[in-house]
């Protein structure tokens, strides 16, 4: 088959359940594989890591010049900005979240998260059929991120709708007209931003211990966010703070049910859980691809990629590169030297990784004891549309 249609085939919904053979084809054709639409696809570990660290690679979609740039009117959140602006905004957002200014924030939520997973796991009663996504994998991270940011539980549904619209508008893939999708995304962005700013306004001078309170009451004017940035960044934190974790948990349950030997092993030795989560991030990561744009012509293993070209880094392919990992298609929680790119690398390295790890450990820790006799009702399960943020839409299992 033609390697210049790989991106089209990877994003084709029919291949959502198992894109890994296509990644193998990509690495074989690689490292830099030009696509029919002019973009480049990169699937080998070392090239991906090098490009993630390369300061000449822009994360900003507005850096695209070729082929035709799609319309980006709004200022992107820091995830898709470059330094120094990226650094300024990421730093401001990081202050109430992690070290050095808030070193204990994430860890102090561990007890609450474990409690939540226990409550959610109560539906896992023998003989029942449940949907791991709707009944567990989705409610957990949404509740956690709402509490972390300070969003009232009652408004969760509003956020779910906005999120679905926004995630759909951020998908990639050669499809037809995206105008309607973009318009809906813009509207959701605006409504969600307005809501969050109003909520933040209520906390101004009356902090309630959540991140929104901390952000709006930041005493140092040098790092305080403008309204525009506050809206964009809290939307990003909300979406990034749960969208991926849902997939990590659902992919984890799916993987373990397909590998009963590993499930048994983890049931017998829960101390392996943190390493099992790392292995999941390598083996079935929630984030499959990220886009970058070179600011100047750059050379990737002998191929010159022109400035302004869309470059898709297939992270999930990199983490299964046999040049880097031995037996990469084997799920092995005891794998040594597991330097996967599940959280990316370089300056955009996932901000929420410590929270995601805690949530995934707590979730799998709560579920594993219930999965002894469970089996998949549907294998493969129905997947979500998105090829970049890949995971099951539903995961029905019989207990």
């Amino acid at each position: 088959m033609d390697s210049d249609t790989l991106l089209a085939r990877i994003t084709d919904y029919a291949n959502r359940p198992d894109p890994y053979p296509l990644y193998a084809e990509l690495r074989e054709a690689g490292p830099a594989v030009r696509q029919a639409d002019g973009s480049y696809l990169i699937g080998t570990y070392h090239e991906i890591v090098a490009l993630l660290h390369d300061p000449r690679m822009s994360a900003d979609p507005r850096s695209r010049t070729a082929p035709a740039p799609y319309e980006v009117t709004r200022k992107p959140p820091f995830l898709r900005l470059d330094d120094p602006e990226h650094h300024r905004l990421r730093n401001s957002a990081m202050r109430p979240f992690g070290p050095p200014h808030s070193p204990g924030r994430v860890d102090s939520m561990r007890g609450e998260i474990v409690q939540l997973t226990k409550e959610l796991a109560e539906v896992f009663q023998e003989g029942r059929q449940i949907d791991v996504v709707d009944d567990f994998a989705y409610p957990l991270p949404v509740t956690v991120i709402c509490r972390l940011l300070g969003i009232p539980d009652k408004d969760e549904q509003l956020f779910q709708d906005w999120t679905d619209t926004l995630v759909a508008s951020a998908d990639i893939g050669p499809e037809g007209d995206t105008a309607e999708r973009d318009r809906a995304g813009g509207q959701a962005q605006e409504e969600m931003g307005r809501y969050l700013l109003q909520l933040a306004e209520l906390r101004r001078g009356r902090p309630t211990g959540d991140m929104l309170s901390d952000l709006v009451n930041e005493p140092d004017p040098a790092v305080r966010l403008s309204e525009e940035d506050l809206a964009a960044n809290t939307i990003l934190l909300f979406i990034a703070g749960h969208e991926t974790t849902v997939n990590l948990i659902a992919n984890g349950v799916l993987t373990l049910l397909r590998r009963p030997d590993q499930l048994d092993r983890l049931r017998e030795d829960p101390g392996l859980l943190p390493r099992a989560v790392e292995e999941l991030l390598r083996y079935e990561p929630p984030v499959h691809m990220r886009e970058r744009v070179p600011l100047v012509d750059i050379d990737v293993a002998g191929t010159t990629i022109p400035a302004g070209t869309s470059v898709i880094l297939a992270l999930a392919s990199g983490s299964r590169d046999p040049m880097r990992f031995s037996e990469p298609d084997r799920f092995d929680p005891t794998r040594p030297d597991n330097q996967h790119v599940g959280f990316g690398s370089g300056i955009h390295l996932c901000f929420g990784a410590p929270l995601a790890r805690i949530e995934a450990e707590a979730a799998l820790g709560a579920l594993i004891p219930h999965l002894g006799t469970a089996h998949l009702v549907q294998d493969p399960p129905p997947y979500r549309q998105n090829a970049m943020l890949r995971g099951p839409r539903h995961l029905p299992i019989q207990l």
Binding site: A50, H53, P55, R56, M57, D60, D82, H87, G346
Partner: protein, 454 residues
């Protein structure tokens, strides 16, 4: 017989980071013989980087920096006893208590000690410190906690600057006296040292450059110092941070190539003897070694870096228990870090092996930047300030001997990115302390020319 290498008697002299990591690695490599580790300090191996940071800030007690063991190396620990010599013919290490330890293979990892103040009477004044050991750090931390009026730090290298930073963080008045033109100039060159000077002054350090301390004053207790510019500093604590002395004196009669700059070894950590002949049973690792590095013109490098001690110890251990064809070279790219005045400074490569630099990302004004160093058109080092995530990119450029200046086009490129300026690495003779990477052959721009007739 290769199998024999996994057995026999190995003695490691030096019970700090390199000694411990080598002992662990020997077992991981399958060494089953007897292993003895000799250390002149009474403590099990401990970590030194926290001594000038967390310990001085009072956040950690000096005796809590013990190094965790990856696995118990099942060694006979001879702590609190000094090795006084090596008999290479009889293959014995001589100890100060009169005992001698026979070995089949020997690893020397005796590291460095703080360079003392040259006048012993002045050095003995109460209130005068050096900072190398756990005891040094504990004593100094106690004095800082008691709230001295002023601390004088002699030497503006990494240790001196970290001490000054800790003093300011504790709200103490501090004076730094540096013989060179700016702090850190010996390790990082002229451009970054300007930033270091600004940071120190902005944080309230009384920074004196281009001066030497000519005398320490006091009557039993330190009261102040006289400087070469005729001025006087009144202070009740003095920290002498004049760099390190390599612990090689005990090898004077050993026939090994041991001198003030360390013990010369090959890329496989095998020690040279005084005739430049490589030994096959004496190995060297850590601060006390000097070894040739192909990326830096095969010059002998002498590093005082945490990472080098670990990596070199592992290579030495591997080579001690594997036959020649399976031996590995120690080719790690030198790297080190420091935190001071709220800045995170990280370095890869050898900044002193350079003739020019560019600020490739960020700026001095933003106090966030990546500076790239080049020598004769090739990237040889990079230093980041609060930009550590960019370091891997530059490490790759060094490893691949990429052309200097590095390719332009960084998103946050400095205006001056494409204009290399002289790296301004001073002659170490003009510094209060040595650079933490010493090229013990020659400096790039002070290359000797061999004139051959005809």
């Amino acid at each position: 017989m290769p199998g024999d290498l996994k057995d026999g008697r190995i003695v490691i002299v030096g019970a700090s980071l390199a000694g411990l990591r080598a002992a662990e690695a020997l077992r991981e490599e399958g060494f089953t013989g007897s292993l003895t580790v000799v250390g002149d300090e009474p403590h099990p191996p401990y970590d030194r980087p926290p001594l000038s940071k967390q310990v001085l800030l009072g956040r950690a007690a000096a005796d809590t920096t013990g190094l965790p063991m990856r696995q118990d190396p099942d060694a006979d620990w001879r702590l609190g006893v000094r090795a006084t010599g090596v008999d290479p013919l009889a293959k014995q290490v001589l100890l100060e208590d009169g005992e001698s330890l026979p070995y089949d293979r020997l690893l020397i990892a005796t590291g460095t000690r703080a360079r003392p103040w040259p006048n012993p009477e002045e050095a003995a004044l109460e209130g005068v410190f050096t900072l190398r050991t756990r005891e040094d750090a504990g004593g100094l931390a106690q004095r800082l906690a008691a709230g001295p009026e002023r601390v004088l730090v002699i030497g503006g290298g990494f240790t001196g600057s970290e001490i000054a930073s800790a003093c300011r963080e504790r709200g103490l008045e501090v004076t730094v006296a540096e013989r060179g033109p700016a702090p850190l100039v010996g390790a990082l060159g002229g451009t970054l040292s300007k930033l270091a000077a600004v940071m120190q002054r902005n944080h309230g350090v009384d920074l004196r450059t281009g001066v030497t301390v000519t005398a320490l004053r006091g009557n039993g207790s330190f009261t102040g110092a006289e400087l070469s510019d005729g001025s006087r500093v009144d202070a009740d604590v003095c920290v002498v941070a004049l760099g390190a002395v390599r612990n090689v004196e005990w090898l004077a009669e050993s026939g090994l190539a041991a001198g003030p700059r360390g013990i010369a070894c090959d890329a496989g950590c095998r020690a040279f003897n005084m005739y430049g002949i490589v030994t096959d049973d004496v190995f060297v690792a850590g601060d006390v070694s000097r070894f040739p590095h192909p990326l830096f013109g095969y010059q002998m490098l002498s590093l005082e870096h945490w990472g080098n001690a670990v990596e070199q110890a592992e290579v030495a251990a591997h080579n001690m228990v594997n036959p020649g064809p399976l031996q590995r070279p120690h080719l790690a790219i030198p790297s080190f870090w420091s935190t001071q005045f709220g800045l995170n400074i990280k370095s890869v490569g050898v900044p002193t092996y350079s003739d020019h630099v560019v600020i490739a990302q960020g700026s001095l004004e933003a106090r966030r930047l990546a500076m790239v160093y080049g020598y004769k058109g090739r990237v040889t080092a990079a230093v980041t300030v609060d930009m550590a995530k960019s370091l891997d990119y530059y490490r790759h450029l060094i490893e691949t001997a990429a052309p200097f200046p590095p390719p332009p086009g960084a998103a946050d490129r400095a205006i001056a990115a494409d204009v290399p300026i002289p790296s301004d690495v001073p002659d170490p003779k003009g510094l209060s302390h040595g650079p933490t990477v010493a090229l013990t052959g020659y400096l790039p721009d002070r290359r000797l020319t061999l004139v051959q007739p005809g």
